[in-house]
Amino acid sequence: MANSKKRVPMNHVIGFVLSLVMTLVAAWAAIGSDLPVTWIIIGIMILALLQAGVQLFMFMHVTEAESGNGHVPWNMMFHGFALAGIIVAGSLFTMSFGFDHDHGGGGGDHQQHEEQEQQDHSGH
């Protein structure tokens, strides 16, 4: 490999700086910005995926010729992440969407809960 002779591996340095910048941007978006919550969540999830890409391609040698140009690594990671997306989105879809647990049950039931909670709190 030609680039393994170099003293400083530039692609690692670039990858490191990129991940630091993306972490700071994500933290700023979540803590410091006034963007709508939905956009923050979409934005920081995209940043997370990009950072995972930096790790895989710049640090983990996914595409180097010796590993068969990354045929197996790429397939493992792609299908792993595809399954992960299906499992997380599918669980949320079946378990959470359409049910707001903060206001679960019927209206009367809800009020009863609240009354009970208030009693609990005054009891402390």
């Binding site: 490999m1 393994s4 002779k5 591996p9 690692h12 990858g15 490191f16 991940s19 630091l20 972490t23 994500a26 933290a27 978006a29 979540a30 803590i31 919550v37 923050i40 969540i41 920081i44 999830m45 940043l47 997370a48 950072q51 995972a52 790790q55 895989l56 710049m58 640090f59 983990m60 010796e66 590993s67 197996v72 690594p73 493992m76 990671m77 299908h79 792993g80 992440f81 399954l83 992960a84 997306g85 499992i87 997380v88 599918g90 669980s91 949320l92 378990m95 959470s96 647990h101 903060d102």
Partner: protein, 201 residues
Amino acid sequence: MAAEELKTGPLEYRTQEGQMGIMGFWIFLGAEVVLFSTLFATYAVLFGRTADAPHPGELFEPGIVLIMTFLLLTSSFTCGLAIHEMRRGSVKGLTIWMAITLALGLGFLGFEIYEFVHYAHEGATIQSSAFWSAFFILAGTHGLHVTLGIGWAILLLIQIKQRGLTNVTSRKFFIISLYWHFLDVIWIFIFTSVYLIGMVI
């Protein structure tokens, strides 16, 4: 694929055994992604179900989480440098960068243990609610992986001191570097979807 040893290219890829070992580890990493996805899914479904325990928004602090993230990001970078040195044939460079990686990993673990103890003092324990169970299992499984990785790397450092760089030891170091970078990938998603989203909502 040649059964005999190749004369060029990185040491770890020169034998078929080395190539197969690395390929097998990628399959393991694919399975690890799916393992963590089930924990992420559980966490996402149980989000907000804190019962009487404190809300995540009250406990999560940006400062300590950012320090942990930077520690792990930097350790992933130094781990990459260690493999770079290994491919230049430098045992010394490999050992030094790997030791720095482990020190950063230990720093990360220290902060995580401090964080967990702090949460427990505030009343958020693994028994306190469904949400905190899911949180501690997700973050704790990652922390356990980091702990295992540190122990594994220490054993490899002892081995390389005894045997030097061979096809076998360089394959082992290459594989632990994949493992370490992978832990950083998982942490990025914990940082984003647990801590940042927990502070936003």
